[in-house]
């Protein structure tokens, strides 16, 4: 029982429990609450971490002594590929997303994330995708081309089995989860902060997560595109990465590392966010250099996108281009250093108490500095050439990732454990866990730098005795097992503390941030009333705040209407401007996730009809989902006494849905830009690029199709403009007209595609063109269907002058569809015509 519950507030808090709680039994699977979903991400991520860890131990066992045959070369290839894949895609990113999903609403003083069903869908995509990928290990058909799946090794000629397909389809499935989390977190942080929490007052952790989420939105699409193209090449015989048809294997490397390098910072930033949150607490003083750190976060978020080619220094790029990326790689040390100096200054001027979480932070500081320094070494092209593909790079990567992510993560686990369980972990067992992990890690990887410098390449399943690597490898393997024992001690400590840990008092570490103002163990609604937060240190300045919140002294303290409600605020100032009503428990996310899993399995087993039927059902399921919104009976139907000050979000033009759509379109636009990059890259760099003499598309029907699309969008815009002016007369008709014209455009564009003499299995030119046309068709179709749905919703009274928000959410989709169409015409038709090619 929480300290904050008393006879005065118990009845009201129990009412909150009923409205915000999960359903019992199997009904837990319908939970959409951010606390439940966030914890599920974390627990599932830890299970995958253990799987990845076992794989690492197998690798170290194999390499402990020369010329061992515990693992065959084939098994070793599968295991190192899966170790990287599992750790990067199934552990690091999801577990950090889960932690962010759990913490962000609590830190910004709200009750849930802004799109709860999206969180739940993301979780199921992650879970099912993860199971599909890991199952390949047990079927002995795991991917064996490395976690980065370089072509041509991962192409169908050199990898004819299903391994790469498991990877490509499974990872793309999991990335739905990452993208949904990215959109969700961006909009939640910008639009649902407590009243008065301006950007200037936002907890520093939220800045880190905002940057991470935006980086996911912009960083993942290149890999999603690359995975789609490679799977199309493998399954349908299209040409993107094969030189013979005008493709280029280096395109894969570009697309992969356009994602892969930002990914390192996507992992590091939340880790650094935990460090910036914990250091002030254990230094017992506010964080020094808040503004500098905000500046560093933004810098890091951008510059990290300019480094991808430093993974490709040895592929034969001109020296000048290498120098651009070498400079950018060194520049990223600036924001890292800013943060380090701020942390050191905070510790220096504080009174540090070395509780268990602080010990892990100390480990982070030491290990990550070492990893950062070897990173600067690798940014220098001649040195990189020298150690490329050796164990030096393996050591550097683990120093950065384990130091930058795992150590802060475990610090965070220990710090926030009492929040979840209401109990404190064991200090003794926890310290054993830390020291074993810290010593084991350094024994493993410090020596591995030398192994690399002595020339041992990566990804070899064994080595001859007497090459000078024997002792180093033995030491690394011993260190690996010491580290594993340390991690086991941490896990045992965490598990035991749920049963034997001493009860924690409210705010046990004397922290200043809002997440410690909630009940412990945490309740499903976080805050029984939503406070004003005009300060960066609310609990320092008002220690009675948790009790006042529980006693209902602030906003939205009444839940008798039975709706889940939070405040919607201005992005910059944090001033409240609307009340957002959120969906309650729903089976739609599980249903949609399961159907998408069938699509994935259908493609994997090459049962394309199954995949197609499942894809249709997936679309229907998602459309049904979108139907249960706004003024629908299951959401917030219109009533006679509507809330007006502030109004419900669905009664305004500026809903979180609009923000979600815009952020999603940014990610979508990155995928499109990646496709354009691929087109121009192959055109200018592929050694055997071939373009037909005549453009394969029928020009005038294509332009007519574009004209129809333009008219459809303009009609929709006209309807939206009238709605904004308070005039809904004829709106349904206008939506129908827009939809019908959109359908005509779709049909004509489909005819253009089907009638074109494209040789998509012969020429990269035609393959890219086909993918582009498919992409346009998907967007045209989607715009048409959702507009038709808007017309139907007008009929049902779900869209009207009183509930106007939905058409404003749909409008950016039309703008986007229009923009990509004409850009595609310019890039694929007009530019080649003007250039004298096809």
């Amino acid at each position: 029982m929480s300290e904050l519950r008393n006879t005065g507030n118990r009845g009201r808090l129990e009412q909150f429990d009923r409205v915000w709680g999960n359903l019992p039994g199997w009904g837990q699977l319908s939970a959409v609450n951010h606390t439940s979903v966030g914890l599920r991400f974390v627990v599932t991520g830890m299970v995958f971490f253990l799987i990845g860890g076992i794989l690492a131990m197998l690798l170290r066992t194999q390499l402990a002594l020369p010329e061992q045959d515990i693992l065959s070369s084939n098994a070793y290839n599968q295991i190192f590929s899966m170790h990287g894949t599992v750790m990067m895609f199934l552990f690091a990113i999801p577990v950090l997303e889960g932690a962010a999903m759990y913490l962000i609403p609590k830190m910004i003083g709200t009750r849930d994330l802004v799109f709860p069903r999206l969180s739940a869908l993301g979780y199921y995509c992650y879970l099912f995708g993860g199971i599909i990928i890991v199952s390949s290990l047990f079927l002995n058909m795991a991917p064996d081309a490395g976690w980065f799946m370089y072509t041509p090794l991962s192409g169908s000629f050199y990898s004819p089995g299903l391994g790469p397909d498991f990877w490509l389809l499974g990872i793309t499935f999991v990335e739905i989860s990452a993208m949904s989390a990215g959109v969700e977190l961006v909009v939640s942080i910008l639009r649902t902060r407590a009243n008065g929490m301006s950007l200037r007052k936002m907890p520093i952790f939220c800045w880190y997560i905002l940057a991470m989420a935006l980086m996911i939105v912009f960083g993942f699409p290149p890999l999603i595109l690359g995975s789609i193209l490679l799977e199309l090449e493998r399954a349908a015989g299209m040409v993107f990465f094969e030189v013979a048809g005008g493709g280029d294997p280096l395109l894969w490397q570009h697309l992969f590392w356009l994602f892969g390098h930002p990914e390192v910072y996507i992992i590091f930033l939340p880790g650094a966010g935990i460090v910036s949150t914990l250091i002030p607490v254990f230094a017992q003083r506010p964080l020094l250099g808040y503004r500098w750190i905000v500046l560093a976060i933004i810098l890091m978020g951008f510059i990290s996108f300019g480094l991808w080619v430093h993974h490709m220094f040895t592929v034969g790029i001109p020296s000048l281009a290498l120098a651009f990326f070498s400079m950018a790689s060194m520049l990223v040390a600036i924001p890292t250093a800013i943060q380090f100096f701020a942390w050191i200054a905070t510790l220096w001027t504080g009174r540090v108490v070395f509780h268990l979480p602080m010990l892990w932070i100390l480990g982070f500081l030491i290990i990550f500095v070492a990893g950062g320094l070897t990173g600067v070494m690798l940014a220098l092209v001649p040195f990189d050439w020298q150690v490329h593909d050796t164990h030096f790079v393996v050591a550097h990567m683990h120093y950065v990732l384990v130091g930058g992510m795992l150590f802060p993560l475990i610090a965070g686990f220990y710090y926030w454990l009492p929040h979840v369980s209401g109990r404190m972990p064991s200090d003794t067992l926890g310290r054993w866990g830390f020291w074993l992990t810290f010593i084991g890690f350094n024994v493993t990887f410090l020596i591995m730098h030398l192994t690399g410098l002595f020339g041992m390449p990566r990804r070899v399943y064994t080595y001859e005795a007497g090459l000078g690597w024997d002792l180093f490898n033995l030491i690394s393997s011993i260190g690996g097992f010491i580290m594993a024992i340390g991690i086991a001690a941490v896990i045992v400590d965490v598990l035991l503390h749920f049963r034997f840990g001493r009860p924690a008092r409210q705010n046990p570490w004397n922290a200043d941030s809002l997440e410690w103002a909630v009940e412990m163990p945490v309740s499903p609604y976080n805050f029984a009333s939503l406070p004003n937060v005009p300060t960066r240190h609310p609990l320092f300045e008002d220690p009675a705040l948790p009790q006042d919140i529980a006693d209902g002294k602030f906003g939205l303290a009444d839940v008798s209407h039975g709706r889940r409600e939070i405040y919607g605020s201005q992005a910059g100032t944090g001033k409240v401007m609307q009340v957002i009503h959120l969906p309650t428990n729903s089976w739609l996310p599980l249903q949609s996730g399961a159907i998408i899993a069938v699509v994935c399995l259908g493609l994997l087993t090459k049962s394309y009809w199954v995949a197609l039927v499942a894809a249709v059902f997936a679309v229907l399921s998602l459309l049904r989902w979108s139907w249960h919104n706004g003024a629908h009976a299951s959401s917030a139907p219109l009533t006679a006494d509507e809330r007006t000050d502030p109004p419900l979000h669905s009664r305004t033009f500026n809903s979180p849905g609009l923000w979600g759509m815009n952020v999603a379109m940014m990610g979508n636009g990155t995928l499109y830009a990646s496709l354009l990059f691929g087109w121009f890259y192959l055109w200018t760099a592929a050694p055997q690029w071939q373009a037909p003499q005549e453009g394969p598309l029928a020009l005038w029907p294509l332009l007519l199709s574009g004209a129809l699309l333009t008219v459809a969008a303009l009609v929709f815009r006209y309807a939206v403009g009238r709605l904004r002016a308070g005039n809904a007369k004829g709106m349904q008709g206008l939506f129908w007209i827009s939809s019908v014209i959109g359908l005509a455009h779709f049909a004509l564009l489909l005819w253009v595609l089907l009638s074109a003499p494209l040789q998509a299995t012969e020429l990269a030119h035609d393959s890219v063109l086909t993918v582009m046309l498919m992409y346009l068709l998907i967007h045209s179709g989607l715009s048409t269907v959702v507009t038709a749905m808007q017309a139907m919703r007008v009929q049902f009274g779900y869209v009207s002058v009183r509930v106007p928000y939905e058409p404003f959410v749909v409008w950016p989709l039309w703008v986007y569809t229009l923009a990509i169409f004409w850009l595609a015409v310019a890039a694929f038709v007009w530019l080649p015509m003007g250039w004298g090619g096809s």
Binding site: R200, F305, L320, M327, I334
Partner: protein, 116 residues
């Protein structure tokens, strides 16, 4: 959006830097593809000159934007004005570091031939 206290300013400097970085890499690639200069010319080629000129313009633009934001002064009090100054001040720092970054990534054009 052009106000120095609009939140978009927090990222505008780096958006410009990102655009410049893409143009730098893209122009170098396209230039080498379309009209590659002779290797013996070293860095004294039309590609390098073009990139250097454009890089100088971008750096100058970013420095001007940094100065414009910096003039807002420090954010000291807890008023709404301090929120605006917070945005302007951090944006100024980001513009300045973006200028440094733009100059740094352009600098290699004075050393290396473009297509070797």
């Amino acid at each position: 959006m052009f106000s120095i206290s609009h939140p978009i300013q927090l990222v505008m400097g780096l958006i410009i830097w990102s655009g410049w970085f893409a143009v730098l890499y893209g122009l170098q690639g396209i230039g080498c593809n379309v009209a590659p200069p002779a290797a013996e010319l070293g860095p004294w080629t039309w590609i390098n000159a073009l990139l250097l000129g454009l890089g100088a313009c971008v750096t100058l633009l970013l420095l001007i934007a940094a100065y414009r934001c910096w003039k807002a002064g420090p954010d000291t009090s807890a008023t709404e004005d301090s929120h605006r100054k917070f945005i302007a001040r951090i944006s100024g720092g980001i513009y300045l570091l973006s200028a440094v970054a733009a100059a740094a990534v352009t600098l290699p054009v004075v050393i290396y031939p473009p297509c070797v």
